[in-house]
């Protein structure tokens, strides 16, 4: 199972990951972080396919993707 | 010993080279030397000149208002430098290209047909060697052997050219020696 890990301290709430996710499983938190942004969070973790596009599109290195088991390589990055 | 000379002519007459050979010869004989060229656009076609100072002591000014000796290879150079020669000094005029002479009576004027001498041995291009020879012959600031060694260094690769330069130098040397002796008599 893939898992999206979002660092809510680094996140600036730009929503690029939200728009990038093909599964539409990301959204913004309703609580401000220390810098005054609403950070991104994972709304439906089980639907994640581990494509990593959220991490690829993040300007702040706030997203990493973990995995238990096998990953399907969807494209060459 | 302190020798100051300005070689002047138009670009291509080899006045820079004549000065350099003189400076090298001075260095080879263990003296302090400076060679200072005029530089910039005037080197290409206009009047070009260089100053050479040879001395037993560290050399101060490479620039002098009144040089002890001037060698002029063309008319504009005579006009520019003829009046500047230090009283009692030496003015060598390339009579091949300069009809005029200096009317100064307080200096030694020596007329040497540099181009004709060189032409006589094969090429007027070597006129600068006649001029250099004339200056050295008149002043004996360096020996003929030192100058010849450097002429060999410069033209050694081409024996014909070397021979021409040697002969021109020697004839110039003689003309300088005799010319100065005659000029000294005249002043008396």
């Amino acid at each position: 199972m893939p898992r999206v890990l979002i660092d809510s301290v680094l996140c600036k709430g730009c929503e690029r990951c939200v728009g990038a996710c093909p599964q539409r499983i990301l959204g913004l938190s309703k609580e401000l972080n220390a810098k005054g942004y609403y950070p991104a969070l994972v709304l439906h973790q089980p639907r994640c396919i581990g494509c990593c596009l959220c991490a690829i599109t993040c300007p702040d290195s706030a997203v990493q993707v973990g995995l238990n088991g096998n990953q399907y390589k969807l494209f060459e990055y | 010993m302190l020798s100051e000379v300005t070689f002047a002519g138009f670009g291509g007459q080899g006045v820079m080279l004549a000065g350099k050979i003189l400076a090298h010869a001075g260095l080879d004989e263990g003296h302090e030397v400076v060679w200072l060229p005029s530089y910039g656009p005037e080197m290409r076609g206009g009047t070009a000149y260089c100053n050479v100072v040879i001395s037993d002591k560290p050399i101060g000014s490479p620039i002098f208002a009144a040089p002890a000796a001037v060698v002029v290879m063309n008319r504009p150079s005579l006009d520019k430098f003829g009046s500047r020669v230090k009283p009692g000094g030496l003015l060598i005029i390339n009579s091949s290209l300069i009809d005029a002479t200096s009317d100064r009576t307080d200096i030694h004027v020596v007329r040497v047909p540099c181009n004709e001498i060189a032409q006589g041995f094969g090429s007027a291009k070597a006129a600068n060697m006649a001029a250099l020879g004339a200056y050295c012959g008149a002043t004996k600031v360096v020996t003929v052997d030192s100058v010849k060694a450097l002429v060999k260094e410069t033209f050694g690769a081409k024996p014909k050219v070397l021979d021409l330069n040697y002969k021109t130098l020697e004839r110039g040397w003689q003309a300088g020696e005799e010319g100065l002796a005659a000029a000294k008599k005249k002043i008396k």
Binding site: - | K20, V34, L36, P37, Y39, G40, G60, S61, P62, A65
Partner: protein, 369 residues
């Protein structure tokens, strides 16, 4: 000990840099120093060095920045308008504490000016030249031999203090030929652990002059100031020539003009005049205490420059008003002769007030007539 070779100043400067261990030259042709890049374009590849003709002095000086940052001994040569263009990189190098050597073969100015000798860049050279609070040590040779020697010293000073060092010559130094002997010397090898050579087994190095935090930038400026203080204490160079002690007049001049003055001193001494010459070799740091001491028993000072009076401010500051300071100079590429110097020195000795630029007085009269 090497043998004496007859070399043009420009060639001697280039060769001395190689002897000092310079590995690269980035430059741009400008009269009257183009013989340096011409010489090096042939010579540097022979010794495994890098020669590159840049697209401009701006680029050349920034190439120096890059190469100096990579820890290599580098230098360039230029002439006045080119040095103006280099001010950007010189300021950045001073700020980033990068060592390099820049030779400015000064010509007449301002603007395009002329190509003949001048000293009009004195203030630009000694006050930093570019923006910000920095200084560059300035060495001014008066013979070709000294130019070669000072080039080697300049590299050592640059590395020691991590600062650009300027060698200030003029067209005469660049163009004249004199015998030069390259002394065998152990060029100091300075470790440069700060250089950007690849962060292998250490944290990354950053070459930088940007300090957005004011207190940090103030600390950086104070650190630089301490360095310049050390330079002012330890890197003063000067020469005294001729008579010492009680003097009718003391000449002060640097560079090639100082040679002219030496001949003037010799001539005047023959005439029984008590005259000496004080020649600053380092223009920054200016040897002010030494000049003050040399001037202590002089009745007057005559400052001689190929500029309209730039060093004179340093001379006046040095003697602190204890000795009257007169000035004589030529500009536009005209170099004064020993006769001129002796003439104006004579006027000072006679008690005349002398503050003359060449034929200035005569010209003004002619123009207003």
């Amino acid at each position: 000990m090497g043998e004496k070779k007859l070399l043009k100043g420009c060639e001697a400067i280039g060769e001395a840099a190689i002897q000092a261990g310079a590995k690269a030259f980035f430059g741009y042709p400008i009269t009257p120093q183009s013989e340096v890049p011409e010489y090096l374009s042939k010579r540097l590849p022979e010794v495994g060095g890098v020669f590159l003709q840049a697209e401009s002095e701006v680029a050349a000086s920034n190439m120096l920045y890059g190469a100096a940052g990579a820890g290599v001994r580098i230098f360039t040569t230029t002439s006045s308008p080119g040095y103006s263009l280099m001010q950007e990189a010189v300021s950045y190098m001073a700020g980033s504490e990068l060592p390099c050597v820049i030779v400015n073969i000064v010509r007449g100015g301002p603007g395009l000016g002329g190509i003949l000798p001048g000293q009009g860049d004195y203030k630009q050279a000694t006050r930093g030249g570019g923006h910000g609070d920095y200084r560059t040590p300035v060495l001014a040779p008066s013979t070709v031999q000294e130019a070669a020697d000072l080039m080697i010293d300049a590299f050592d000073i640059a590395d020691k203090y991590r600062n650009p060092v300027l060698v200030l010559g003029d067209g005469l130094i660049g163009q004249m030929m004199e015998p030069v002997e390259f002394k065998q010397r152990s060029t100091q090898v300075v470790e440069k652990p700060w250089a950007t050579t690849g962060a292998k087994g250490r944290p990354p190095n950053i070459v930088n002059s940007l300090y957005l935090d004011a207190p940090t930038l103030e600390r950086h400026n104070i650190k630089l100031k301490a360095k310049y203080d050390a330079i002012e204490k330890d890197e003063r160079r000067w020469e005294e020539y001729g008579n010492t002690g009680k003097l009718d007049i003391l000449l002060v001049a640097y560079g090639t003009v100082a040679r002219v003055c030496k001949t003037a001193v010799d001539e005047m001494t023959k005439q029984g005049i008590r005259v000496g010459l004080f020649r600053p070799i380092s223009l920054y740091p200016f040897p002010d205490a030494e000049l003050r001491s040399a001037a202590r028993q002089a009745k007057a000072i005559l400052d001689i420059e190929l500029s309209t009076g730039q060093m004179i401010d340093d001379v006046k500051a040095a003697v602190e008003g204890r000795v009257p300071v007169h000035y004589y100079g030529r500009v536009g590429g005209i170099v004064c002769t020993p006769e001129e110097v002796a003439f104006h020195a004579g006027r000072v000795i006679k008690g005349e007030q002398v503050y003359t630029i060449g034929e200035y007085a005569g010209l003004v009269t002619a123009l207003t007539a």
